[in-house]
């Protein structure tokens, strides 16, 4: 357990949280909570979580929240902010939710430049359903549905989400890939992404490389190694699109 204080936007009454020990989700939500605190938008934010392990965050924040269906968090948040544009909608989902079953929503919402933030947790598998292949599963990676390792020729190469979203969004979008191994950077990305939404400027998308020791079947050391070596070699951390208003220098 981290000894640092909890973000104000967290609901202490629902802590400790429901994720497995060593899970990346908790770290992502810490960085997100701190970013929400820093720009002081707790009263205007609405949080939506998907089905997948993200659903375990349904009562995580001191923020009005809704748990939706697998892949459908993006359209629910779009519906909310279209009806009440003064709200800041955050759609929180896994890689299966965002890149497989809900890919059409991600692509079209990005293309429409909807004023929402999509946070997508890339843990290279379907965590909640017991570790099947996800669009982000690495070549050779063993999952329950790729027991001999993912064959990229048969099932495709890992989806490059931020690259895709950056390619289809206009210049007012903010697109980045962070990692739970660098929370300070991740928080910075979240802040920029949220400000971009708050300013009514554009669509924001942050993918986060995250750990799933339960389904990876890794100990603490190997978990970190898989994140920082295997995943990092396929998924490049950084900002993929920064709107003119958010560019530094």
């Amino acid at each position: 357990m981290s000894t640092t204080v909890m973000p104000n936007s967290w609901n202490i009454n629902t802590k400790p949280h429901k994720f497995c020990p060593g899970c990346g989700h908790g770290h992502v939500l810490r960085a997100l909570g701190e970013a929400i605190d820093d720009i002081d938008i707790q009263d205007r934010t609405v949080f939506g979580c998907d089905i997948g392990c993200s659903l375990l965050a349904w009562d995580f924040f001191n923020i009005d929240s809704i748990q939706t269906h697998h892949g459908r968090t993006t359209p629910v948040m779009v519906g909310i902010v279209r009806a009440n544009p003064s709200l800041i909608g955050i759609a929180y989902m896994g890689d299966g939710g965002g890149y497989a079953i809900g890919a059409q929503h991600l692509v079209n919402s990005a293309n429409r430049n909807d004023k929402i933030l999509v946070v997508l947790v890339n843990n290279t598998n379907y965590g909640m359903t017991g570790g099947q292949m996800a669009p982000t599963t690495l070549p050779g990676q063993v999952t329950e549905t790729t027991p001999y390792g993912r064959d990229a020729l048969e099932t495709g190469a890992p989806t490059q989400g931020p690259e895709l979203v950056a390619a289809i969004t206009g210049e007012n979008a903010y697109v980045a890939r962070g990692t739970v191994s660098n929370l300070r950077q991740l928080k910075k990305y979240f802040k920029k992404a949220l400000e971009n939404v708050q300013e009514g400027n554009g669509f924001s998308f942050v993918e986060v490389l995250a750990t799933c020791p339960t389904n990876w079947r890794t100990n603490a050391k190997d978990t970190w190694k898989f994140l920082e070596e295997n995943m990092a070699s396929y998924f490049k951390v950084g900002e993929y699109k920064v709107p003119p208003t958010k560019r530094e220098g």
Partner: protein
């Protein structure tokens, strides 16, 4: 801003146009839609009218998105609606099941087309099963099957009001014929007529800082334990059953002394009504029962009628979808049932008259 409809106005328009005006009259705020025939013109009229009255529209990427975004609009506290048909209705079942579970008053106009699959864009009554009991749920919905343009207008207003009053998703179930044909009707401002418009309330994004000024709102549809779900679901089912008699509506004609009762819904009941009148002139005692709400089904009313007249003829443009609802409602009564099922095809009064005069039915009538 000017009200869309000030005083009563006699108009002549297509059913799709009527639904758009009905939604305006019901003070709908936002429509989320995806094109599909035969409902397209609901969107076309709405997008033309909406900006004049400060209303919004979003064309989504598919019906899943249209349905879930409609839910989002409701959660933000706005009267939100959509319209669909056929394969679009199929996709809509996923968001509708969430609306059912979470008591989200979404409103959807459905203009039935031929099925299964893509079939025709023209007409049918084959979306009864799906609209009443689709999705992985218990059918906790309000479904109005309209027969005239006046009803399309009236029940669009009622769908919004009863959705928000009872917090069950509500549907205006029309069809391709109603969507496309022109008919006269009277449009009105419901409040001028003394119809109280049920006010929407905000679910997410209420005033104040959650955790400081008030508790945060947490909405979910996933539960970890069987008992947990049961505890949530049973009161919902009980409430639905309790309010059902208030919601149920039907129309009946000449049932008191009838030897045979035609049961039909929607536009087919117009042919049935014409047949009833024609046969009566010839001294053949026929009655008509028409459920207006297909969910909740007016079970008490039809049972009462069929206690004295056990002979029924079910007529529908589907292969027994209405019949299934009727049989369930009449379970246990000694019923003699005949049927005209024409899936995906219109039915005329002549066909009904011919059928009734045919040999089989003569025996019933001569009884």
């Amino acid at each position: 801003m000017e009200k869309p409809i000030q005083e009563e106005k006699r108009v002549f328009m297509t059913g799709n146009e009527v639904v758009a005006w009905g939604a305006l009259a019901a003070q709908a705020d936002i429509m989320y839609g995806y094109p599909i025939t035969p409902q397209n013109e609901i969107m076309h009229y709405w997008t033309r009218l909406a900006p004049k009255y400060g209303k919004s529209f979003l064309q989504t990427e598919d019906e899943l998105s249209a349905g879930f975004a409609t839910i989002g609009g409701v959660l933000a506290g706005k009267r939100s609606f959509s319209a669909t048909a056929g394969p679009g209705n199929t996709l809509f079942q996923e968001p509708i099941s969430m609306a059912e579970m979470m008591r989200i008053p979404m409103v959807v106009a459905i203009q039935q087309r031929g099925g299964p699959s893509t079939a025709t864009v023209i007409y049918s009554q084959q979306e009864v099963n799906m609209t009443t009991y689709g999705g992985n749920g218990e059918g906790l919905r309000i479904v109005y099957s309209t027969a005239t343009h006046q009803e399309l207008f009236d029940y669009t207003i009622k769908a919004f009001n009863n959705a928000w009053k009872y917090r069950f998703p509500a549907f205006i179930l029309g069809d391709g014929y109603q969507a496309k044909m022109r008919e006269p009707l009277i449009m009105y401002n419901p409040e001028e007529k003394g119809i109280e418009m049920v006010k929407p309330d905000v679910s997410l994004g209420k005033e104040g800082v959650p955790g400081k000024d008030r508790d945060p709102v947490y909405l979910r549809n996933a539960y970890s334990m069987e008992e947990e779900l049961f505890e949530v679901l049973m009161p919902m089912i009980e409430e639905y059953n309790k309010v059902s008699p208030e919601i149920e509506e039907h129309f009946s004609l000449g049932c008191e002394d009838a030897d045979l009762i035609i049961v039909s819904h929607g536009i087919v009941s117009r042919a049935a009504m014409a047949a009833e009148e024609e046969l009566r002139k010839e001294g053949i005692k026929v009655g008509l029962f028409r459920p207006i709400t297909l969910r909740p089904f007016p079970e008490g009313a039809i049972r009462e009628i069929c206690k004295s007249t056990p002979n029924i003829l079910i007529v529908e443009s589907a292969n027994g979808q209405l019949a299934r609802l009727v049989k369930e409602a009449l379970f246990g009564l000694p019923i003699n049932m005949q049927a005209i099922f024409k899936p995906g095809v219109g039915i005329t009064s002549e066909e009904i008259i011919k059928f009734i005069k045919s040999k089989k039915t003569e025996e019933i009538i001569a009884k």
